[in-house]
Amino acid sequence: MEIINRSKRILHLLPVVVLLVVLAVACHSGNEEPELFHGFIQPEGFPETSYDFSRNEVTKDGFELGKKLFFEPRLSRNNTIACGSCHIQSAAFTHHGHDVSHGIDDRLGIRNPMPIMNMAWSDEFFWDGGVFDLDLAAVNAITSPVEMDENVPNVLKKLREHPEYPALFKKAFGSGEITDARFFMALSQYMLMAVSDNSAYDKFRRNEVGAAFTENQLAGYQVFLKNCAACHSEPLLTDQSYRNNGLAPNHVDDRGRFEVTLNEADNYKFKVPSLRNWQYTGPYMHDGRFLTLNRVIEHYRSGMIDSETLDPIFRNKDGTIGVKMTDTEKDNLIEFLATLNDRDFVTNPLLAEPAINSPYTQ
């Protein structure tokens, strides 16, 4: 009786055991997802990179460390704000919905955070180009009193005392020493991998099958080439120059590039931002004053303010300023601009914040 009972009990347990085995197998195969990291790949048709990869090759371990640092609130004075707090992937690494950046202790900056996107091709960074090396870009946010309000030596101290970072630095750089250069280079490795090259426009550009533009998009592309491409040049959709596009000076009288060069000729000039992923990066302009693409286009059509440093490209032969286009041209332009949004970029699991939906949870 005892024996029968026992075997019965075992039989009862059998489905549970099978289920566990199945689950284990399933979980196991789940771990073997395709590798997402393939190093830095030069996109077809993009120019040569500005970043010197020979002194900081992007490796899987360096990139993973950089990603962890990017989402690390210890980079701020009171451990509350990470780079990823104001550079959110779903917003193409901007601070969606904020006109100006919103940092530590709810302090506000004076500028709209720029997207972290295609940094490898950037010569200079931020709206005024005050930083000329991606490796030094983080210092700006870390030390800004309205962003992270911290200093780099203190961040290094926190990382050195952290239970995980010395091992992660060792993995990435061969020894556990946490130096400023390694810290900056790891962050750069993550940011360099934020490449946007897979919008409908890119597929069209590469002549991919099924990537043809509609008639309206083609017409809009012509409007773009005629009116926008001189500054928003292809394929990065910025020529990286500094220009005064006729915005009225704001209440803090932000003079943009002038603050860096102290040259009156640079008054109210700001970096030409890329048009890529505009759908995710609103609001627009250096202080986020325009909420919609429509408002941006209307600014160029009829809202520009004249001043000494207004970019000459906006001066028309008849003495007016601005970009002339018909309503139909505008509608077509908007249809073309929609092709610049790269959904793969804003959903790329490789770049996703760890712990949320990346397979690379540390």
Binding site: D52, G129, V131, F132, A141, N151, V152, P153, V260
Partner: protein, 292 residues
Amino acid sequence: MKKYSQRLKHSLTSYCLLIAGLGIITACVDEDPGPDLEKTGDFSIEFDTIVGEETFGLAPRQYTNAKGETFSIKLLQYFISNIKLYTESGEEYVVPQEESYFLVQAEDRSTRFTKVRVPEGDYTKISFVLGVDSLRNTMPVERRPGVLSFDPDQGHEGGGMYWGWNSGYIFLKFEGTCDLISDDQQGDPTGNKQFKYHIGGYGGYSAPTLNNIKEITMDLNQGGIAQVREGLRSNVHLFVDVMKVFNGQHTFSIPEHPNVMFSDYSVNIANNFPEMFTHDHTENFTKGEDEL
């Protein structure tokens, strides 16, 4: 016989001369054989802070500038770099650049020496840069070691000698208080009466802008040339008069310009810097810092 004695006398004289000569040579060896370019010795410039005709001290100690404004000092620090030495004949020795960056912090006496090794020599002139040269300002992060780094143990005082928003080193940082400073935006809105002079600007990366790099040359003939010898330390003792920041060729009022950072006005202040430095004396053939 006479011939012999004459000869003897002659050779005695020769011997005497020889011995005397040897004696002189030996004496020279004992004192200073002259510089041997194959050998190196220790050399330092000492940046000894003073305030006008008084010794240096932090707040609450008070000083008065040429405009009659009373102030106290909270912080003074600056970069010294690119040290060069010259001999009488015009030969130049450039200290290898990597070893030639120093951060002098007035409140920390141990930082007042810029210690380097240089070939033996009698140097009559030195030069150095107050600040950081433009090349190093644009180098990648891994080429900014020591005081140029952000390292908590050896870097530039909490990273405070660097502008993160406008990449570049702050050459000289001078902060303090002056009761005449207003509490509005023109002064110190925090009400703490602070003045802050953060002077830098290396000329710009892609567009030309401020260049406040100052190369300072000091003739040592008056105060004593630097005799660098192996195993010994030669120290050029400079006085660094902070008062000259206010009272140099451009005299200015603290409450009129309580905050000067990256702006055109900084050029006036930077132009006062070379006057801060005077050569007081040189200590040669010392065995170490205790003798200085």
